[in-house]
Assembly symmetry: C2
Homo-oligomer: 359 residues x 2
């Protein structure tokens, strides 16, 4: 079968975008064509263009007007996402957009609705669920080895200095949940399904930061399952598992435990096996970041495949609204000291669910 | 210094009371005198009396009228505690009473108030915090090695068949939190101090039981610390740590992790050490129950020491009301889907705090 070529323009060439650029280049064998890059910083745009041998732009409108693209991969800060998405939608170009989708729920919904109305394919680059270890966990659940999963812990606890490469973290109004909590909340959905309600306690343990650096969340899933979802940048653990997500899932027939070092221990009907489920190193990835880098690659590979087959991504804009709603609900739960029902976007009406503010 | 002899009468000679009887016997060297035993079941009373070589009774009033006792150790089901405590209070005899103190908050308060009014020494046999591993953890906290503790997980997750020796568990109206959750909640207080509010999700994962067999609790402590407190009888883990409590505590300078097998890993200012903190085996204890049995011994030793010195026990009736209030608050939080402020007993007025039902 002939490989369908998909021409991608990458918008945003900063720290994290390097992983996307490498991913698209490596995916050339599968039909991805890195067609052009763009960054408002001319130095970053030129550096990426020269490194990857493609035209570079400092203006996204010019990129879209000049290049013949099948899709754009938007890897900029979230406050630029809505405007950039609208540009791409106007051109009918498929969109992959970095998480979080937008700075607030209304902008998220506006992006998803605009894309839906225009029939434009939209995916959110939510990469944790594409990490090789997390796919392994999901495959074990799907195999039925642990029976029905009814309790889980999904945890990202590190003391790694995340402020070094992202000094703007000090001033964020929403920190741990918006940055990494969104990933672990998405994993909770991935493993246990949709969420009925969420409770949350946030902490600011590092006095130098403005917002919360620690969040401890208690989720009730619609299935009846319960999960604890945690994130902190203030753990003092040894080994520090950064940037690994650790997982414990209990079912009626067994359990799955993922320990630091990506060792998965599966107990199924009384028999226990252990397996190394670590992310493989790629030519452009390096330890310990490779866990996250390889997740970005696997996400891009999924998006490419979906675009080629003309099907929605697993983390489509519509799907990702459910994860985003959990972020908003977590902050509200922490502020109001009660369990919050996450907002729902009603696709058929294009309107917010009344449940959003209901209790 | 001469050892002060303390004459103890044990009321209740069932499954768990055997540990108390052995404990008092072993504590003879420290001044404990097991003076007599009592059980409404003549067979159990006689068996205990013969085994430990002491007079046996089937009526607590007769025991108290006949024997010259300094204290009673009440190891019966909680619905008998209030009446038995009132008998002892009338005689001015010190009281140790098995947890939970009583079936409901009002009875708990009534017992504590009656003892306080009569000037009778009252302690609750809350033994988890006296287990050797938990004392080790507390000593590390007190040493300052991890700085200020600001986050913790206290967890009791087992698949051990607790229904085998306690078949009445199937029909309890309150199960996991009332039986073992109360212990882990007490540990959360022991490690991180008093609780500001508590959220909770309960589950009935075993369809054969009437009440909850799993509870996942999220606590905000007055210090600002947050803890996750968990208990379940439906875990499917290997190794199954029964009856060990596992602990993770993070402070600003380090962390304490207690893994299955009572291995404590302490990280302090970047340096990590590991230590076996397991409970020692006694002549009458056996693996794996020795963790709980030795905890009962250590609790009795503490009560004996306090009685000899004429000071309140660490788990006095007054103190234990704070743990009991957490149990009630957890059930209410689960039912109402919100964080609950635990009830407070106001010692100076003898009245319930208005906060009890406030939000």
């Amino acid at each position: 079968m002939a490989t369908v070529a998909i021409r991608i323009g990458v918008i945003g060439c900063g720290f994290y975008a390097q992983n996307h650029l490498h991913a698209w280049k490596e995916l050339a064998a599968d039909g991805a064509v890195l067609a052009a890059v763009c960054d408002v910083d001319p130095g970053k745009a030129e550096a990426a263009g020269r490194t990857f041998g493609v035209p570079f732009y400092t203006d996204a409108a010019a990129l879209l007007a000049t290049e013949r693209l099948d899709g754009v991969d938007i890897v900029t800060r979230h406050d630029t996402h809505r405007a950039l998405c609208e540009l791409a939608i106007a051109r009918g170009v498929a969109i992959i957009v970095q998480k979080p989708l937008a700075p607030n729920w209304d902008d998220c919904v506006a992006i998803v609705e605009a894309a839906a109305k225009a029939g434009v394919w939209l995916a959110v680059h939510e990469n944790f669920r594409f990490q090789t270890p997390m796919r392994h966990v999901r495959r074990v659940i799907d195999s039925g080895a642990i029976g029905t999963p009814n309790w889980a812990r999904v945890t990202f606890r590190t003391g790694f200095d995340v402020y070094l490469t992202q000094p703007y973290f000090y001033d964020e109004e929403r920190l741990a949940i918006a940055d990494v909590g969104i990933h672990v909340l998405d994993l909770a959905r991935f493993f246990l399904g949709e969420v009925e309600r969420i409770s949350c306690e946030t902490q600011r343990r590092n006095p130098k930061v403005r917002a919360e650096d620690t969040a401890t969340m208690l989720l009730r899933h619609r299935s009846g399952a319960v999960s604890v979802v945690e994130c902190t940048y203030e753990a003092r653990r040894d080994p520090d598992p950064f940037p690994e997500t650790l997982v414990e899932i209990e079912g009626d027939k067994g359990s799955i435990i993922v320990r630091p070092g990506s060792i998965m221990r599966v107990t199924s009907n009384g028999t226990t096996t252990e397996e190394d489920i670590g992310s493989p190193l790629r030519s452009w990835t390096s330890n310990p970041w490779h866990v996250a880098q390889e997740g970005a690659f696997m996400a891009c590979r999924h998006f490419l495949d979906c675009l080629q087959r003309g099907v929605p991504a697993e983390t489509s804009g519509k799907d990702n609204l459910k994860t985003y709603a959990l972020v908003d609900a977590a902050y509200r739960a922490a502020a109001e000291h009660r369990a919050i029902i996450p907002a729902q976007w009603k696709e058929n009406t294009g309107a917010l669910s009344m449940e959003r503010w209901a209790q």
